[in-house]
Symmetry: C2
Subunit: 344 residues, 2 copies
């Protein structure tokens, strides 16, 4: 990739929704989410099916906000952390919407926004796209680590998979149904899978931070821009550990984010209230915080321009048991306020 | 989706490669593959890592055919059947190429060709894209069903996950480095996840056939074309069971494929020589047969125009144990010969 991908006609996020579980609802952003279920069950019997229900719920909430039905969506991009991404294929995709399944670990929200923007820019046959990503603490913990009932001791660098989901409806900014205040995706830069040798599945922040640093450094190098061109530089779920490492890696490369960095995994929980160790994680972490905190701030014009990097740790329990290291990845999108035209 | 997505500037598949294991190499297409390893190990110690190696190998073979290095690729789309798609992220994606991870089960080759075509059509910043998909019999069997050492009895409708991979390098047909004979993607139609109530993980053909029928019927309805506009209508891995069901479902809807249907899962093995029951399957099945049989025939002008539908069964062992049914999906691309300009 020799240049940043810029969209001559920006892509609007014309509707968005978030839904979370009980712990997330008790956190500092609790009042901002569109829906929460204290029981984390979302009306289903198993944790896996609860996440399917969460996926369906959050898409329907976004559609309701836009006053549209599922039939309006030309192409759905969705993914989650469950093996074979069944929360997505059995949840929102089962609505019969044309569907592309993604796996970018916790970076899936960013990957989805990037691919949906490319798809809409490619053909007039595509008018509306949806992006949905979810994660569920109980489903993820028993799949990747230990069932919650086991009561395993967690290490200080471990992160807490968020029970959360986000849905985004996208169209060309020129579409008459797109509200003028809708935030816009004006550019993007795909991430590369980077292996920094981290083999500790309880320290995903360390595995993802080098990938986030790589994408940020490539972006500023290719674009000629600097951190002062942005109000916020937002990462998905580096957590406290990974965020500190990111800033250190960037400083080593001569880049200072000047207090502009925020991490969705750090924002989602109050460490004094809920002991989530290094912070939140999961496909739904960045998606729910983007949908509930950053997009509304762009809609209101309180923020003008942000860099959003979802961050993913590409690994399976099998490959960790076989001694392989965790690859990090961090796709990037540039989000601008529709209200202010993204002016600096 | 109200129309077929057509590309005003077609996308060329300017290089491709296939690699397979021992059983696949002994089959009727054995002489056509670019590389095979009789041991199925591809130089690695575990089956999971063998598939990573296969993924890396098949991408490098395609790059070698084009005389290019990994740096030339602007965006890689890859996926496989392993949990969290680690064969792709640890295999070809670990080369540091900007990467989008896909999960479409055995339909990933079609999903990748579709998304790579959209991405290339979206922005001049993207010049070359790669699509790589793999599957490995031993890695897949122990993950989805039983380890091979168990010697479990297989049912007649069961399919044999192919140890195989395919890689495709794509660019705009107008690029000077694209050979005139390179096959072209001229149109595509995403698949929808369809749940037909099949809960038998040993009968994936039955779960996928309705999705393939749905996409084929939508394509002909939206395009106004008919089967006689194509030399071949190729499905990914319906196998013998799913292929018979597909033709029956289409006939019920008044569509006769007039002997033009071929299925990669049926073509890959000789049932009299290797007892694979209902045929081959896996992400690498359709990818390797497309790369070794159908694309070369298009390159030589022996075929002018084919409909290619990769077929996927979206399910996890956990969701089957919880009584859920398998969703089928079948994304479609239209492939035309560069030699004849796709004339009928």
């Amino acid at each position: 990739m020799r240049t940043v991908i810029r969209f001559p006609v920006p892509v609007s996020i014309y509707a968005r929704a978030s839904a979370v579980g009980g712990t997330e609802s008790d956190g500092p952003l609790g009042a901002l989410f569109d829906f929460h279920d204290e029981t984390d069950r979302f009306g289903a019997d198993t944790w896996e099916q609860s996440e399917e229900s969460l996926s369906r719920t959050v898409l329907n909430l976004a559609l309701a906000r836009a006053g549209e039905s599922q039939d309006a969506i030309d192409l759905l991009f969705a993914g989650d952390l469950q093996n074979q991404c069944v929360a997505s294929s059995g949840g929102c995709a089962a609505a019969g919407i044309p569907y592309c399944g993604l796996y970018g670990a916790c970076s899936t929200s960013g990957e989805g926004l990037l691919l949906a923007s490319l798809a809409l820019s490619a053909s007039p046959a595509l008018s509306r796209a949806a992006v949905v990503t979810t994660s569920h603490n109980a489903a993820a913990e028993r799949q990747f680590r230990l069932p919650l009932e086991y009561g395993g001791q967690r290490s200080p660098t471990a992160q807490w998979t968020a029970t959360a989901g986000g849905a985004f409806l996208l169209c060309h900014a020129s579409e008459p149904f797109s509200p003028p205040s809708a935030p816009r995706i004006t550019a993007c830069l795909p991430g590369a899978a980077l292996d920094s040798g981290v083999t500790d599945g309880a320290n995903m922040g360390a595995a993802m931070a080098p990938a986030a640093a790589d994408t940020i450094l490539r972006y500023f190098s290719l674009s000629g821009e600097s951190p002062s061109d942005f109000d916020r530089i937002v990462t998905g779920d580096l957590g406290a550990e990974g965020s500190a490492l990111l800033l250190e890696l960037l400083r080593e490369n001569g880049l200072d984010l000047q207090g502009r960095h925020r991490d969705c995994g750090v924002l989602l929980f109050d460490p004094l209230k809920t002991d989530v160790h290094a912070g939140g994680s999961g496909c739904g972490c960045s998606a729910s915080v983007l949908a509930s905190l950053f997009l509304p701030a762009l809609e209101r014009g309180e923020l003008n321009r942000i860099l959003f990097l979802a961050t993913g740790a590409l690994m399976s329990p099998s490959c960790l048991l076989q001694g392989e290291s965790i690859r990090g990845i961090a796709p990037l999108v540039v989000l601008e306020s529709g209200k202010t035209g993204g002016e600096k």
